[in-house]
């Protein structure tokens, strides 16, 4: 039997299905940014952007771009009716103070204990892209991760017993959405709650370094 991994937009769309009306949500850079495109307009979800935007809306039409309004990826956005602006210390009080119902981050790796690694591939790498990830990871009421199940290069698994890359935070991830499956992080480790059509338990386990649980 064959299977077809979800593309990045489809992962984002899958996550959007699980975000209920009324949640206050921060979306990280990468796959998570696309999630808001799949939340229907009549479902009121408030998106936070850590540069101080509460109520971030979709990209503007090209003739409506305002250079004074960007998101955390410095992309041009709009403000939803009811939205507001705060300064950076207040914006991170939102992130660190437990006011976000959900944060969705991209990652290099997630461990079965809920550890996340998403800012550097090696301790001495000159790329040090911490940004707001460490604050969001420890502060949101729930942290979900969106990422491909395996690496593009050698097909190594991003679903780990222990992270091999420098940690962003320990024991914080609640759920992982990959191109192959949805996994809950439980006290026993990864619990598979959903697989894409055509994927088998054996096939998913082969692509996961950590042991998977099924019930």
């Amino acid at each position: 039997m064959t299977f077809r991994p979800l593309d990045r937009a489809a992962i984002a769309a899958r996550i959007a299905q699980d975000i209920p009306e009324g949640w206050f949500v921060n979306l990280g850079i990468g796959i998570p940014t696309g999630v808001s495109d799949y939340v229907p307009n009549d479902r009121e979800v408030i998106f936070h952007s850590e540069n101080g935007v509460i109520g971030a809306g979709p990209a503007p039409a090209p003739d409506k771009i305002d250079p004074y309004l960007v998101n955390a990826g410095t992309q041009h956005i709009t403000l939803r009716t009811g939205g507001s602006f705060v300064h950076h210390a207040d914006s991170f009080a939102i992130a660190r103070g437990g006011h976000l119902d959900l944060c969705v981050l991209g990652a290099f790796e997630v461990a079965e204990s809920g550890d996340i690694a998403n800012w550097a591939r090696a301790p001495d790498e000159p790329v040090k892209q911490v940004g707001g990830a460490m604050d969001l990871a420890i502060g949101a009421k729930r942290l979900w991760v969106a990422m491909e199940h395996t690496t593009k290069g050698n097909g190594g698994s991003r679903i780990r017993k222990l992270c091999s890359y420098p940690l962003t935070a320990k024991g914080v991830v609640r759920r992982v959405y990959t191109d192959l499956a949805v996994l809950e992080v439980t006290p026993r480790g990864f619990l598979v709650v959903e697989m894409i059509p055509g994927m088998t338990r054996e096939g998913l386990q082969e692509r996961s370094e950590a042991e998977l649980h099924w019930s």
Partner: protein, 218 residues
């Protein structure tokens, strides 16, 4: 009469000393580009620059770093493919990476007279190596100290002669918190407003945190 307006950029930046800690707000917008360019011309050296990001190949942060006037950069984010990444790689720039929320809070603490604080942010990471941590309420936390500046170079949309400011949309970002964290806060404003014409409820950064203002029309 209190009047914080100065006639030009040179007057705004006069007296910035070698070795100063410079706070530079901005996140995609809200950066005082004219003051940043003026800082290079002003010529102070051996600076510590505090900004959210290390910037790219061009732009105000990259230009300041490329001038060679900065010894140390404190920021949350550095791209490999940037002036900052290359200078750090060549050991020509000291780098302190601070999580963005910790950066904002250390600035706030400096402005608010908070001597130190603990936060779980970064406590279980490489950034905590060799530093003081403590379990608080069952959670590992990292001790963080205030980050005061000698000078903040801020951006405003509107300013009056008392230095009361508004910031447009997401251009607010680090401007209010860096304004309160510096001994000398210098502002470039797009618009000059008569005292009293910014509705008091709408002042984003009160003039008590501002020392000099220069008008830089768009």
């Amino acid at each position: 009469m209190i009047d914080k307006f100065v006639p030009d950029v040179a007057a705004a930046l006069a007296g910035i000393a070698d070795g100063s800690v410079i706070l530079l707000p901005g996140f995609g917008n809200g950066m005082a580009e004219t003051l940043a360019a003026g800082l290079i011309a002003q010529g102070a050296r051996n600076l510590t620059l505090v900004a959210n990001s290390g910037g790219r190949d061009t732009g105000p942060v990259a230009d300041i770093l490329a001038s060679g006037h900065v010894a140390r950069l404190i920021c949350s984010f550095v791209r490999a493919d940037s002036v900052a990444g290359r200078l750090f790689g060549a050991a020509k720039l000291e780098l302190e990476i601070v999580p963005q929320g910790t950066l904002a809070e250390r600035l706030r603490a400096a402005g608010a007279g908070i001597s130190a604080f603990y936060t779980p942010t970064g406590a279980d990471t490489l950034l905590a190596e060799g530093r003081e941590t403590r379990i608080i309420d069952g959670r590992n936390c990292l001790l963080e100290y205030p980050l005061p500046g000698d000078v903040a170079l801020c951006d405003a949309w509107e300013a009056d002669r008392w230095g009361n400011l508004t910031h447009r949309q997401s251009a607010r970002n680090f401007n209010p918190v860096m304004a309160m964290a510096a001994k000398m806060t210098i502002v470039q404003t797009r618009h000059v407003i008569a005292l009293g014409d910014i509705p008091p409820e709408n002042v984003h950064t009160p003039g008590v945190f501002v020392h000099r203002v220069v008008h830089v029309p768009a």
